[in-house]
Symmetry: C2
Subunit: 212 residues, 2 copies
């Protein structure tokens, strides 16, 4: 999404993270995780670090920054982005990995609590504007937004809804706008593929089956 | 350390993190953690985000940046800084929190493995220079460096040595230089106080006593 925002063309190489290829092990030996951006022959790892790198290297066609220009707004975006990585991602991943229904319920509730906090963050950050830091998609939109297709996968698999008008009206309207934005459209992976991957992960880990 | 590097004067307000005060709860309601920087009446939270904010807001007397100017070097510094937060900090904190000697041994070994990885990182990043990203203290030096007085506390409490010439020659020489640098001297907390705090934390959590 960040490369698209900057109008940079790239080659996308799919990696099976349940059967890691040599390229991934070579370019991210420390974490062995995707994504990895290879630029000028050297690897960049960790999603948020890659997005900041892209923002610093390419000015983009219209010169728009992904991170806000103001230091306080940048810090706020980084604060909530770190919150997503530290709290949201492990919470919903825990739903898949849970080995009992009780553990799964606990992780669902944890995810709901984190999403409720993000609803408040959106109210504070956006101040009535369309996206987290203004009128166009920025850093925090990308960081929160890349969880949305997983939410859809979790809804299909477990019947839980994390973002909806009744519970999180601001996030629900934002998610709609984000999905239709130039950054996300045609790039965000399909929820079908997320479901397929999640089922493989659960089988591999011996997770509890979906109850419904 | 970052404020000192920029020549910015500040008021330091001590917080007892085992008995959190109203100021901390007011200014960091999400994580309820130190440090918090209050600037222009608004709070900034999370150490690494605060340091980047300070770097962006204050140019410093000599105009020196804390983060490197080059985007790839910035990304590298951020990568290893995230590694310290994600791997090093929980590993050594786990030594204190361990409820059995076996768990403690496991966390000591985990910490040693993470430090060994940082020795390799220092070799790669510094390329023979005095600090992680060049001839003067920068972002990654601060992030790694603020763990050093805890290492000293752990050595006194458990007799384990993480950074020493025999095992990690580059980090050992770097730690010496860092401790004598203008950024760290007179600012890094005393290991005695770290030991005192660690003992309180262990008593509070019902951790296993130190075996030696």
């Amino acid at each position: 999404m960040a490369l698209r925002m900057k109008g940079v063309s790239y080659e996308y190489i799919e990696q099976d993270v349940l059967d890691k290829g040599e390229l991934l092990l070579k370019y991210n030996p420390v974490h062995k995780k995707v994504p990895v951006l290879i630029h000028n022959g050297v690897p960049l790892c960790e999603s948020q670090i890659i997005v900041q790198y892209i923002d610093e290297v390419w000015a983009g066609a219209n010169g728009a920054s992904i991170l806000p220009a103001d230091p306080y707004e940048r810090a706020t975006a980084r604060f909530w982005a770190a919150y997503v990585d530290d709290k949201l991602f492990p919470a919903w991943l825990g739903i898949l990995k849970a080995t009992s229904q009780d553990e799964r319920t606990e992780k669902v509730n944890k995810t709901l609590a984190v999403v409720a906090q993000l609803e408040l963050a959106l109210a504070q950050c956006s101040n009535g504007k369309a996206f987290f830091a203004g009128d166009s998609v920025g850093f925090l939109d990308l960081v929160v937004g890349c969880n949305l297709f997983w939410f859809e996968a979790l809804r299909r698999m477990f019947g839980v809804v994390f973002v909806e008008e009744g519970k999180t009206p601001l996030l629900a309207a934002w998610a709609e706008r984000f999905g239709e934005s130039g950054a996300a459209r045609d790039v965000v992976p399909d929820a079908d593929r997320a479901v397929e991957f999640a089922k493989k992960l659960m089988a591999r880990r011996g997770s509890a089956p979906a109850a419904n």
